[in-house]
């Protein structure tokens, strides 16, 4: 790697980190105000214009709270858990493409941190590590509520990973690749001339399974049993206060953003804008007098914006669902995971395999 590639890599890292970490407060703000709007309230509107400074006020509040450690906690794991919680989903972003490529000088800079031919597996591997902070914090804080939350959380995540994985396998069979960038390229085509050939149209059953599974994986309502405010106080982070809790809070939203980018890349065409937009951007670029390089760069910027827009839509959906549905009971949750989603995913896999064998074979 030469200097140019190093600088490009560092800039990409900074961009992704900044984009993700700055999305979190916006989503938190929307979580609070959006929930209010959905319930016919106004929501926090005092701090700054439209209450936009509310997340900052929240952070300041958290920082000035007492930073305690329970007497009987095992200190190392207790402190390691929130760190791991934030790091695991952030690492998964390395594999997710957020644009095709920029042309700088005469070199192409792909807008993806790590070009892996097994990108989806790498993302899943890091996402799979999200179980550990839950278990660590639950066990290390030496509290019965925490332990129950951790047990619930880990069994829930492990159970739904099966449905998630099988839904994923059916999509992988359709795309015929593990490379997320190649998946997006596949989805840039059109279906019957008007529909974008997004995964959601190709395989809606897998989409529903995947959607339910990521809700369970990120511990969002209606599957937030690991936190279970009503019966478990705060679940696995009961014993966490101040900035350590803030870390968990951030990590939850980072995991949500990660899951939604994965969902988009698999089912909503990733960074690809709608099929007709390429022509529009070409017209705009020629009107502005851009050459082929400028056109490609403009197109890449449009792609990044479309990725951000799509992530925003999915985050809206996350909030929307949270403030609509009540929480599941734990046995219902397990029933849904094992007795409905798992067989459904298997049948779907079989059907997709038969279709591919008939059409492609």
């Amino acid at each position: 790697m030469d200097l140019f590639e190093w600088i490009a890599l560092i800039l990409k890292l900074v961009f992704v980190l900044a984009a993700v970490l700055n999305t979190v407060p916006i989503v938190v703000w929307f979580e609070r105000r959006g929930s209010a709007w959905m319930q016919g309230r106004v929501g926090p509107n005092r701090v700054g214009p439209f209450g936009l400074m509310q997340p900052i006020a929240d952070v300041i509040k958290f920082i000035f709270k007492e930073d305690f450690v329970p007497e009987q906690a095992s200190k190392f794991f207790y402190h390691a858990a929130p760190v791991l919680a934030a790091v695991a989903p952030l690492a998964a972003f390395a594999a997710i493409p957020f644009g095709s490529y920029l042309i700088i000088g005469d070199r192409q800079v792909p807008l993806q941190i790590a070009q892996l031919d097994v990108g989806i597996l790498a993302a899943l591997a890091f996402a799979g590590l999200e179980v550990y902070p839950v278990m660590l914090s639950g066990w290390a804080s030496n509290n019965k509520y925490s332990t129950f939350g951790a047990l619930r959380g880990s069994s829930q995540m492990v159970s739904y990973e099966i449905g998630l994985g099988l839904a994923l396998v059916s999509m992988l069979m359709i795309y015929g690749t593990l490379d997320l960038n190649a998946m997006v390229k596949y989805q840039e085509q059109t279906l019957w001339g008007f529909l974008p050939s997004w995964g959601v149209f190709l395989n809606p059953v897998a989409f529903v399974i995947f959607l339910v599974a990521i809700f369970a994986e990120t511990n969002r309502l209606p599957f937030d049993l690991p936190e279970g405010d009503a019966e478990l106080v705060g679940g696995y982070h009961t014993e966490y206060g101040s900035t350590k809790f803030l870390m968990f809070f951030f990590a939850e939203y980072i995991a949500m953003i990660m899951a939604s980018s994965l969902l988009i890349t698999l089912f909503f065409g990733g960074y690809a804008p709608l099929p007709g937009m390429k022509a529009g951007v070409d017209v705009l670029a020629s009107a502005l007098g851009f050459g082929s390089v400028g056109t490609q760069n403009l197109w890449a910027v449009v792609q990044v914006l479309s990725m951000i827009f799509k992530v925003g839509c999915v985050m809206f959906f996350f909030v929307w669902v949270r403030w609509t549905f009540p929480r599941f009971r734990f046995d219902q949750l397990m029933d849904l995971g094992w007795k409905i989603l798992f067989p459904l995913a298997l049948i779907n896999l079989l059907v997709v395999a038969i279709f591919i064998a008939m059409l492609g074979g």
Binding site: G34, A36, W37, M38, Q39, G40, R41, V208, W320, T324
Partner: protein, 165 residues
């Protein structure tokens, strides 16, 4: 008599997804109404205030006559009837110069203390009072910074309250 309602679950009901979509529609409509049409239930408190009933029983006051002399004659009826025992009255003879209208009020309160932290705002004192002296205003903003401030003395009770506040 119990009525047995048998509901057949159709295939669509068992899928749950249509029902979930109905739920999502409800919250989205509410979202739209709150955000764009401003139909919210919230009362933005310090700027907007809730309109309470005319009979609302709030902070106490003692009515005064034109010369700012309290109407109270220290008859102890309110202190006796008070279920929370929050009223303490100490009486003395009223000086003659406070009776300009010929109607002689023999006693006056030296101290008239109400412990607002004990008061249950039942309004019995108001009903018991033969002189309509003690009344409950409609003011509900009674937050104070110290306990001592919640201990209303005669000066505080004799403050000017327009109408019933």
């Amino acid at each position: 008599m119990a009525i047995i309602v048998s509901r057949k679950e159709r295939f669509l009901d068992k899928l749950y997804i249509p029902a979930l979509l109905v739920g999502l529609k409800v919250t989205f409509r509410r979202f739209f109404e709150s955000l764009f049409l401003g139909r919210t239930m919230t009362i933005q408190y310090p700027e907007q205030k809730r309109e309470y009933s005319q009979r609302f029983r709030g902070e106490h006051f003692i009515s005064v006559d034109a010369n700012k002399v309290e109407n109270c004659t220290s008859c102890y009826l309110c202190q006796t009837v008070c279920p929370a025992e929050c009223i303490t009255i100490i009486a003395e003879e009223r000086p003659n110069d406070q009776n300009p209208y010929g109607v002689r009020k023999e006693k006056r309160p030296v101290r008239f203390d109400i412990d607002a932290l004990r008061c249950c705002f039942c309004g019995f004192c108001e009903e018991a009072c033969p002189k309509d002296a003690i009344k409950l205003s409609r003011n509900y903003e009674m937050a104070v910074e110290t306990r001592a401030q919640a201990f209303y003395d005669l000066d505080h009770l004799k403050r000017e309250v327009k109408g019933r506040g």
